[in-house]
Amino acid sequence: MQRPNEMTEQDRLYQKALDEYGAEIARFVTGYERNAAKRQDLLQEMQFAIWQSMLGFKQQCSLRTWVYRVAHNVGVSHIQRSMRSTEQHFADLSELEFKVDEGTELGLSERQLDFARVLQLIYSLAALDRELMLLYLEGMDALEISEITGLSTRNVATKIHRIKQLLSNQLKTGAHPHE
């Protein structure tokens, strides 16, 4: 019988995942929840799900891919719940024209402004597109994103192209806010 504080294989895998990908998971949380107070709850929910999922991890893919999938699946469910409670509308990449609310920019440093713009863009996206953007910002390529999302590499590449365009538009808007 297992003693209360004895580490199981599930616990060990979880700890390894947290040690190696904890920072990325926390950043994903920022992308899925704009309210800072609620982020801690979502982070715990993600970590809890990752721990639970370790019972089903049989090296089907790399630990990183598995952990990212679980984190984003929890994130997507979180968006779904938010949508139900507030009836928000999130845009597809194809229908999005980037807008920056200049009124929110007063008093922020250039770097904070850029971060705020990226966040604003992320929060306007629908679940799967948001995941794709977050993975792209983590520096993953189309093949890796495809493995995590289950979308074809070609589809992912097309969407990344669109994300780059959006970021580029954002850059122009940021550089010339009054044009």
Binding site: W51, G56, L128
Partner: protein, 186 residues
């Protein structure tokens, strides 16, 4: 600034990681189980109350239809209780499901929500329907013209409104599922 800078800005966020340790998780799992037990007890208590009240009616009321209706309401409430337990089991994703590629997981979530909304009237309303129909019919005896429409409409109209709203939401979810299927197939 180029796109690499955006990535750098994104990745240089202050680290807010709270180390949710395996020991803490084990304690929370125990708390989670206690919460489920508490919820099960509450649901069981409600079903018990309905069973006692309508069981008493079934035993004591003089009118046959009302007695049979009361007994059916008891059975219906037990069926709902069973379904709540069954559904609660289905709602929790398995460890394997949690690690699925996101598009598949998202699709499963949408399908689950759609089916829940489409089927909720079947699982929450229909089990009680025969019992209430007979019960109210019994109240109108011996003169059917005395059927208590006002009481029944207070029950039926909110159910109908919720049903329509649920079906409309299910329809919206179906649109999302279709769009997602197109994305997966691309």
């Amino acid at each position: 600034m180029n796109e690499q800078n955006f990535k750098a800005i994104w990745q240089s966020q202050p680290n807010v990681v709270a180390d949710y340790s395996a020991t803490q998780l084990q304690q929370d799992v125990a708390g989670f189980r206690r919460a489920i037990t508490r919820r099960n007890l509450q649901e069981g208590f409600c079903a018990l109350m309905v069973s006692i009240i309508f069981g008493y009616y079934a035993w004591t009321l003089p009118e046959h239809f009302m007695r049979i209706g009361s007994a059916l309401i008891v059975v219906g409430s037990l069926v709902i209780l069973y379904q709540l337990r069954f559904r609660a089991g289905l709602q929790k994703p398995s460890p394997e499901q949690l690690g699925q590629p996101s598009a598949m997981y998202f699709r499963q979530e949408l399908v689950r929500q759609r089916d829940l909304l489409r089927g909720i009237w079947l699982s929450q309303f229909v089990p009680l329907l025969p019992g209430f129909v007979l019960f109210f019919w019994g109240m109108a005896q011996p003169n059917p013209a005395d059927f208590p429409w006002q009481i029944t409409s207070v029950i039926i109209i909110p159910f109908a409104v919720v049903l329509v709203m649920n079906l409309r939401t299910a329809q919206k979810l179906q649109v999302e599922i279709t769009k997602l299927d197109q994305q997966i197939a691309e």
